[in-house]
């Protein structure tokens, strides 16, 4: 899925009286379909905000965001929901698994939303969990998993419905180096086999090395 940002700015306001904080300032960016782009920058540089705008989680204050041919910044909430449901997979720094569902149910969640037949869900969940090395953890609850395992479940959930776009926000930021490496290998492998567009925000140079190219952000602007 091709991503296009045209003169995008984003401001945050604590409340109506407080002054606006310019998080992104006139950013334009093109990411071709099937690319693996890495967003790098210091804390507060605007990486997560850019990811949120691409993922249709937030709306730009100014400018346009396109996913494929669709201008997401012009869509209403229900269409954005459908877009996220079918076309995007998210991986977060803090894993963000649904605490009340077990591993298999968490992974199956995106398929459940689109009313996929149960048999198909079971087959796909088994395949994906096998692929991330957690076939033996199907019935466990998130609270019973290690950090690395939780992130692998999160990746499995992000890819099970084969979205054309995967967004990862500091996927190794909360893991030790061994688990971090394992997760990066998994993401690289996924990109190589399925060729989705991947946008990954990270601090880590090692993580950045697995992408096709790096987009550097500084004070809300793109450096290169």
């Amino acid at each position: 899925m091709r991503i296009s940002l045209q003169d995008v700015s984003h401001d945050y306001r604590g409340n109506e009286e407080s002054a606006a904080v310019h998080v992104l300032d006139n950013v334009s960016l093109e990411i071709a379909s099937g690319d693996f782009a890495v967003l790098m920058g210091a804390s507060g540089s605007g990486k997560s905000t850019l990811l949120n705008l691409i993922g249709a989680v937030d709306r730009p204050t100014r400018g346009k965001v396109f996913l494929g041919e669709t201008e997401t910044s012009a869509l209403d909430e229900s269409k954005l929901t459908m877009l996220r449901r079918r076309s995007i997979g998210f991986v977060f720094q803090f894993f963000h698994l649904i605490p009340t569902l077990n591993v298999a149910e968490n992974v199956a969640f995106p398929l459940s939303l689109v009313h996929t037949p149960k048999r198909e869900i079971n087959t796909r969940v088994a395949e994906v969990l096998e692929r991330v090395g957690l076939a033996h953890r199907t019935k466990h609850m998130p609270s019973e998993l290690s950090g690395g395992e939780m992130q692998r479940v999160a990746i499995a959930r992000a890819v099970i419905h084969k979205p054309p776009l995967i967004l990862a926000d500091e996927p190794t930021g909360n893991l030790d180096s061994k688990n971090g490496t394992m997760i990066l290998d998994l993401i690289r492998e996924l990109h190589a086999s399925e060729r989705p567009t991947i946008v990954m925000a990270t601090h880590s140079a090692a993580a950045a090395a697995i992408g096709d190219y790096v987009v550097r952000l500084r004070d809300g602007r793109i450096e290169n």
Partner: protein, 856 residues
């Protein structure tokens, strides 16, 4: 121990304020909706208690003030055990005049104004000597002819009464007192002060000779008022048998004693709303602690003592309590006037005639409202505050902290102990006529069910999970799994709604059973064709009577098979009011008996031995059995009457003694009749007989003809009016409980912000999110209704067989009013479903990007 220096004391206070600000006041002002819901929950509970107290006070204050206004400055009264009092008693008092003792003969009788049937009180006094006792300020009087007040047809009326009845000096007014109608002339109008204010001004005053002559009371008095300057003089007063001396306040005390069970029951119902409110505070403080656990952990790490944390969260309970109490008192004041009409009507119909006055918010009521709201809120906050104080800082800071529910086995054991204790307690006899143990048993049952709440919520969620999943897909699954995941909070909300529903079902069962029992009783008791009454309605006011000749005349009519002359009066028995009813006993009468089973042998025994029947409530209150001999105050001393039978009677809870009319007339020298029960000859239609009786007896004797069907209908109307307030109070409890669900689910939304944002980001639509939250509230509704239904049956058993029996002495047969219970449960369920809409709106307002930044 060293004293803390003054500077250090300020510093301690200052640091406590800082902690309070960080943990309590700032979050309260930030989470406005939730804080408002909690305050509103407590306010509604307090409002009900305040309103009941105000209504009770106002309803009785009118009566109490009337008695005081009529008593004037009298410090003692001479009263007969069985009215009337012989005026010769005055002769015994004459020698005491020189010792400074003043006495005033009084006739105090109830009657009605004709033809409007307006209830009125006749106060007849010696207008000359009565000035020692009461102040009469004349607004208008025929000044040229002051002595006209003493003419044989003169009366004096208060100015407001005169205005209401369009009376002026010289106007005629027809009074019906003790079945005698007389037209008297208004010769003076009093200012609204002193005795003229009694009974809301519904009073007519005349000279005692006028009353004795006009209403056939020659030589008779109601009482003698006394002004005794020195208590020692009391020993010099020698009274004949059947006459006693007491303070005027004694009558008020007796009336209050008679009403005690009724009032305690109302307060107990108001307590349900408050108890539900307590769950709300408990949950709010618990949620506050859970939401601020990290802050608590940080403060503890920085050196805040457990005691400071404890006081901070207790402070939260206190703030909610104070705010809720203040709002509750205002709401209660507004509610009171509505409740007053219902309470006043019940007191009037079942106990004493009293016109309720306007509601007055006294300092005592304000103090009660604040004390009840604040103390109970503080009490509810204690346990969660202690928990916050005890937990180690590391546990509080650790991410993903779950607040586990205590060992479910321990909860089950505690619940079982509560059930066993409730069973034991329900067998303890009443204390001073109040079913204290019954109320304790109710609390124990409520505690037992509340302890089971976590297990029940988990169980129901597990049962419903597959069903919800198949009906609503992943949304249903998420809803079913989220409730057990936040068990501490959801189980408290469920327990609160279960309690409100349980009480609603219990009351519906009790009232439904009682109604059915009364309906069967009325069907069995009212077997005659027509009733002839001297007044509208079913009141047995002593003033509304026929003279015996009316029944004699009636008996001669060709279409009448038989008549029964019924007379009722109130006497003082064991220093309490009981009713004595006279009816014509014959062995063939059908009476709903308790002991013996059949009426015939008991009636034969009563006729043979001059025996009496007592009502079930009388036999329970005075521990009376068949064969016991009652000593009743009668006209000429004590009447010793053996008890021949105990029968069912739901007409009042004071206790009724029924005797044959011949025995009654002998004992009380009273031939008046309250009701003439008419049996028609076969083939005579009720309508034809009624028309004829209305034509011949209506204008002539001021009689009203009531059919059998109308009597039954009126009894059931009175019954329904009496219990209307009960439903209203429980409705309030349901509102509080629903507020609890809204509050809990809203708090859970705040707590699950990140999780809900994640669901939205991964594709859950806003409609599906709303559906999920409404399903959660529906599941809480299903749990609470199911538990409420079971709890309701257990509680109704205690209400019917323990509390009702001990408070009023009535046996009620169990009956399930299916449609009423179905309606109650539907109301609760629908309310809980709708309660989910508020938090659902909240959930859809979550800023997704910001929420996802929150760490676990």
């Amino acid at each position: 121990m060293n004293r803390v220096p003054r500077g250090a004391q300020f510093s301690i206070l200052n640091s406590q304020f800082s902690i309070l600000k960080a943990l309590v006041t700032r979050p309260i002002s930030r989470e406005k909706t939730r804080s408002f819901l909690t305050v509103l929950g407590i306010a509604v509970g307090v409002a009900v208690v305040v309103a009941i107290q105000l209504a009770n006070q106002s309803a009785l204050r009118a009566f109490r003030e009337s008695i005081d206004a009529i008593a004037g400055r009298a410090n003692y009264q001479i009263v007969p055990d069985a009215a009337p009092l012989d005026e010769n008693v005055l002769l015994r008092l004459q020698p005491l005049w020189r010792d400074g003792v003043r006495f005033a003969p009084v006739i105090d009788a109830e009657g009605v104004v004709e033809p409007s049937q307006l209830p009125v009180r006749l106060l007849a006094v010696d207008l000359m000597s009565d000035l020692h006792f009461r102040d009469y300020r004349y607004a208008k009087i025929d000044v040229n002819r002051f002595l006209s007040l003493f003419r044989s047809d003169s009366i004096v009326v208060p100015a407001p009464f005169a205005k209401e009845q369009h009376l002026a000096v010289g106007s005629p007014l027809t009074l019906n007192i003790l079945g005698r109608k007389r037209t008297l002339i208004v010769r003076g109008i009093l200012e609204a002060s002193g005795p003229a204010t009694a009974f809301n001004g519904g009073i007519v005053i005349c000279d005692i000779s006028v009353a004795q002559r006009s209403f056939s009371m020659a030589g008779q008095l109601s009482r003698i008022d006394l002004l005794v300057p020195d208590e020692k003089l009391l020993t010099k007063i020698h009274l004949p048998p059947g006459v006693r001396m007491e303070r005027p306040s004694r009558r008020n005390e007796r009336v209050e004693k008679m009403l005690r069970a009724f009032r305690v029951n109302l307060f107990a119902l108001a307590g349900v709303a408050l108890l539900v409110g307590m769950f709300l505070v408990y949950n709010t403080v618990l949620i506050s602690i859970l939401r601020r656990r990290r802050d608590v952990g940080v403060l503890k790490t920085l050196g805040t003592s457990p005691r400071q944390i404890f006081f901070a969260f207790c402070g939260e309970g206190l703030i909610f309590g104070l705010a809720g109490s203040a709002l509750g008192i205002l709401l209660g004041y507004a509610l009171a006037s509505g409740i007053l009409t219902a309470v006043g009507r019940t007191i009037n119909t079942l106990y004493v005639a009293s016109r309720p006055e306007s509601v007055v918010l006294t300092p005592a009521v304000i103090a009660t409202g604040i004390a009840v709201g604040t103390l109970l809120s503080l009490l509810s906050a204690l346990q969660p505050s202690l928990e916050a104080a005890r937990v180690r800082p590391s546990t509080m800071i650790r991410p993903g902290l779950q607040q586990p529910v205590r060992n479910s086995r321990a909860l089950a054991i505690a619940s079982a102990i509560c059930f066993v204790l409730a069973a034991i307690t329900s067998r303890i006899p009443p204390v001073g006529g109040i079913a204290v143990a019954g109320y304790v048993a109710v609390l124990l049952v409520v505690a037992a069910f509340s302890l089971l709440a976590p297990m029940i919520v988990t169980f129901i969620a597990r049962i419903f999970a597959p069903l919800l999943q198949s009906a609503f897909g992943i949304v249903g699954k998420l809803a079913a799994t989220s409730l057990p995941a936040s068990l501490r909070r959801t189980s408290v909300a469920s327990a609160a709604l279960s309690l409100a529903t349980g009480m609603m079902v219990a009351i519906a069962l009790m009232v439904g059973s009682f109604r059915e029992t009364v309906r069967i009783w009325v069907d069995q008791t009212v077997s005659s064709d027509l009733w002839l009454r001297p007044a509208k309605g079913l009141t047995n006011a002593p003033g509304a009577v026929f003279r015996p000749e009316v029944a004699d005349e009636l008996e001669k009519l060709p279409f009448i098979a038989d008549v029964d002359r019924v007379r009722a009066r109130t006497i003082v028995y064991h220093d309490a009011f009981v009713s004595v009813t006279a009816a014509e006993f014959n062995a063939g009468r059908d009476i709903p008996m308790i002991t013996p089973r059949k009426a015939r042998p008991a009636l034969e025994d009563a006729l043979r031995r001059n025996g009496v029947f007592v009502s079930e409530s009388f036999s329970i209150k005075y521990n009376t059995r068949v064969g016991d001999v009652l000593e009743l105050p009668a006209r000429h001393g004590i009447l010793r009457a053996p008890v021949s039978g105990i029968y069912r009677d739901y007409s009042n809870d004071r206790g009724v003694i029924v005797m044959d009319r011949k025995l009654y007339v002998r004992a009380y020298a009273d031939t008046a009749i309250n009701t003439i029960v008419v049996y028609l000859k076969p083939g005579i239609t009720i309508d034809a007989a009624r028309r004829k009786l209305e034509r011949d007896f209506g204008p002539k004797h001021g009689a009203f003809v009531v059919t059998n069907g109308e009597v039954k209908k009126q009894v059931m109307t009175i019954f329904d009016q009496t219990f209307m307030i009960t439903y209203a109070l429980l409705g309030v409890a349901i509102i509080v409980a629903v507020l609890g669900i809204v509050n809990t689910l809203s708090a859970l939304i705040l707590e699950r912000t990140r999780e809900l944002a994640l669901l939205r980001v991964t594709g859950l639509s806003s409609h599906e999110l709303r559906q999920m939250i409404v399903l959660e509230s529906s599941l809480l509704g299903v749990t609470s209704t199911a538990v409420g239904l079971v709890m309701g049956y257990v509680l109704s058993w205690i209400l019917i067989y323990v509390i009702n029996k001990q408070s009023f002495g009535w046996t009620i047969s169990f009956h399930t009013p299916v449609s009423l219970i179905a309606a109650s449960l539907s109301v609760t369920f629908v309310a809980s479903v709708l309660a989910g809409l508020v938090p659902a709106r909240l959930a859809n307002r979550i800023a997704l990007a910001a929420a996802l930044k929150i760490e676990n």
